[in-house]
Amino acid sequence: MTAPVADRIPTVEKGEPLLSVRDLKVTFTQPRSKKTSVVVDGFNLDITPGSSVAVVGESGSGKTVSMRALMGVLPDTATVTGSAVYEGKELIGMPENKLRRVRGAGIGMVFQNAMSALNPTRTLKVQLTEHLKWHGITNRAEATRRAIEALDRVGIPNPDTRIKMYPFQLSGGQRQRAMIAMAIVAGPKLLIADEPTTALDVTVQRQVLDLLKDLRRNEGLALAMITHDLGVAKYMCDDVVVMRYGEIVEAKSMQGLLDGAEHPYSNQLLDAAIDVVVPDLTNIADISSDAAPADEVPETELDESQMLVTATDLEKIFRGRGGEVRAVTDVDISIARGETVGVVGESGSGKSTLARLLTRLIEPTEGDVSFDGADVLGLKSAGLKAWRRRVQMVFQNPYSSLLPHLTVVDNVLEPLRVHQVGTKEEQYHRALDLLSLVGIPEDRAENYPRQFSGGQQQRIAIARALSLEPELLVCDEPTSALDVSIQAQVLDLLEDLQERLNLSMLFITHNLAVAQRLSDRIIVMANGTIMESAPTDDLFGSPQHEYTQSLLSAILPIRHDPATVDEEAGPPRASIDGELTEVRPGHWVRVYQD
């Protein structure tokens, strides 16, 4: 740190700060070894009433710890020094009984995952009213009335009946809203939101962020928002603080950061973030209405021999005690040699099931899969094993998909061992080559998976998938567990490998921006079936399906404006009836008759 402290404080002259933090330092002491580690050092922050600051950084940068330190809710092993003045009162070192008055009543907190931040065995009523009584704000009857009103303010329908429910009875978005209601019901002036939308689907994320914006506007709440997503930070906040390794590397206005970040790390974050140009959704030519029905369109299908994988009429029904779940319905998909197909959808859209059907990790209820012109579903023992060599997979969570008891080189040569490719010596050297291909140095080959970072683990998993020189690589959310700068590295690696090895790739993701980066063609799925399928440029240039448009409008770009959303409009129509129709060569849309 070279710049003096005062220079790094956001220079906002908006009157007396509501909260002013200086030289905050948090040290953790290990109870057994007494080893200490400094997690946050020299943290400064000013928040004026009604303003908004984003605290941006990657995992382990100390964003959450610094915020929890202000509130005094860190475990006993943490030592907090420095100063944090809220409305003229020093919070650090304040006796517990006084600090409690600030928590909840003065500063409210919103967490990343409402499922764990709400007590599963208590009703919303208990959890929304208990602190009103703790703080002596109201009596019992009045507290319930206030809680219902808070639920109403955060947009939960029928709040007077919902308040009697348990958290698990609400949908993910509603749970998050209920948690926000819990944070604001006691009337705080500052809201600390810790990645409040990271666990949500993109379309729900936009709704919850808009809710937080409304609360700021209507109630004059100040907001300190922890996020790893610069798009979210830009959408929500005026000022930004960039953290790394527990220190602030840059603090300025959001626009100032975008116009000219000074610190190399800020620039690195900005570069790593994948930006998207969202089309003007209010002005999209509807080409579906004048399209001829599918059977009259001249066949534009590629030559069958070019197709590596073709699946037709795929259907998967999971049967369990709760009845049937149609995970995948009526899906046709084909991937040409050397082509990358992105499959995009929200949770529950059936995209992962599709990946598992194509790799025969699960068997379809209906439909056919053929690979290189030959049937896949009929394959047995030896034939199946030989086919598996040609199709490999990369999973979302690299740590749990690597075998923890094997060194990384053994992990990478495991497929070679299973298929008895080459001698032991050759297998070992091939594995080392692959590791160096994905940037893992030879001297670390004998380390175990847990000794690597998340990004390195995913690169090792990719090396393993490549060891058999597959023709098709299926990646199921390979970057969604990774930090942004590492995500960029992994995507670069995949892109590079795909070109060099002429792989076909099926790339499953919930993130349209990631899909755009890699895919030649994108398939949008919802409710277990295809809503729209088009070459990437077509899809982004002229999205036809209502659902695709809603996904696109949920994107929060960094350097451009997000799409305007009609807040009165209901959820997009994504029903599975209707006919998948080719509206332009290669651009298929589900068209509804009425």
């Binding site: 109870p31 009543a105 007590n119 703790w134 005690r321 990790l361 490999q392 497929p415």
Partner: protein
């Protein structure tokens, strides 16, 4: 809820049949029968000579084909009329069990209560003071106690209070003062088990984010601990307390034999030594029934304490997400991810 209970009852009956079959077959395979032992007269197993009329019982009993013995026993069980035992022809099986069970029960109830009263505060203290002296100390003591056999404490208590201080009777079953040593002796080990369980269950609940959320709302440590942590961490304890009580109520052989208490444990051990088949089968089935009833009560209690389980039991939607919270996570050694990975590589699933 009614449908759930009906399903449970059917399953209970099926398991009881299975238990009876397995027990009966195993007992048939054990060398030696009541007749052989009684013909041999006094043996190292004690005097197995018959009281008057024993001859008749034997003739109807273990000389018959095995399947006949089994069927007549099952008939007796269903009608709760299991007939005379071999050893005591004047007394029926159900009478003997009926006499011994209340004795075991009068020990089991105070012993279980004692366990709860001591184990929960110790476990809580250890959890809240994790990695402090109180935690280390209690954990060390509990682990040591758990590793020692239960009857050792009975002997120790007898040595101190009966032999040394001469304030309590050594053995027998004649009045309330005879209960003190066995109740304490019975409670020692379950206390150690339960306290360790309370500790880990509390620690798990303390790690949950709703604890931070409740603190951030302005709750005191104490309020949050009682309103959120304690309640949630007690839910999984029900599953441990149920079997502990069932185990004590069906008698503990060592303590009962050692202290001369006419409970189920002693009854069972003498029946086993003498190969008294009707009594052995009767006692085993009785144990099985008690255990299953306890498990049923545990599940009902679970539903009352945890809304997620309650809604699942009543067949409500949202049950797919229901999971017993705080249950120690069972590791299958391999996550599904790595299993799928191995299959995707080309390995076989097994």
């Amino acid at each position: 809820m009614l449908g759930y209970m009906a399903r449970r009852l059917v399953r209970m009956v099926l398991s009881l049949v299975a238990v009876s079959l397995i027990t009966f077959v195993l007992l048939q395979m054990v060398p030696g029968s009541f007749s052989e032992l009684s013909n041999a007269g006094s043996t190292i197993y004690g005097d197995v000579g018959m009281v008057d009329g024993g001859e008749a019982a034997v003739n109807q009993g273990d000389q018959r084909p095995a399947w006949q013995q089994y069927l007549s026993f099952m008939k007796g069980l269903v009608t709760w009329d299991m007939g005379p035992t071999y050893k005591y022809p004047q007394a029926s099986v159900e009478e003997l069990i009926g006499e011994a069970f209340p004795v075991s029960l009068t020990l089991a109830i105070p012993a279980t209560l004692l366990t709860l009263v001591i184990a929960i505060p110790i476990g809580m203290l250890a959890a809240v003071k994790k990695d402090k002296l109180a935690d280390y100390g209690s954990l060390f003591t509990l682990t040591t106690i758990q590793a020692l056999p239960g009857y050792l404490f009975a002997l120790l208590l007898v040595l101190i209070f009966s032999v040394g201080l001469n304030v309590l009777p050594v053995r027998g079953w004649k009045g309330p003062e005879y209960m003190i040593i066995p109740v304490i002796a019975l409670a020692v080990q379950p206390t150690a088990v339960l306290a360790r369980y309370v500790r880990s269950s509390m620690l798990e609940a303390l790690r949950d984010e709703y604890v931070v959320a409740a603190l951030a709302k302005g709750g005191t440590q104490r309020t949050v601990l009682i309103r959120h942590v304690l309640r949630n961490s007690m839910i999984p304890l029900v599953t441990v307390v149920g079997p502990i009580f069932a185990g004590l109520a069906t008698g503990t052989v060592f303590v009962e034999v050692l202290l001369g208490i006419p409970g189920l444990g002693r009854l069972f051990s003498s029946a086993a030594r003498q190969r008294d088949m009707p009594l052995l089968m009767g006692a085993t089935m009785f144990f099985a029934i008690i255990l299953m009833v306890m498990n049923l009560l545990v599940d009902i209690a679970y539903g009352l304490l945890d809304p997620r389980i309650r809604l699942e039991q009543s067949g409500n939607k949202g049950s797919r997400r229901a999971k017993r919270p705080g249950q120690p996570k069972v590791s299958t050694g391999m996550s599904t991810d790595s299993t799928e990975t191995v299959v995707a590589i080309g390995g076989t699933r097994v």
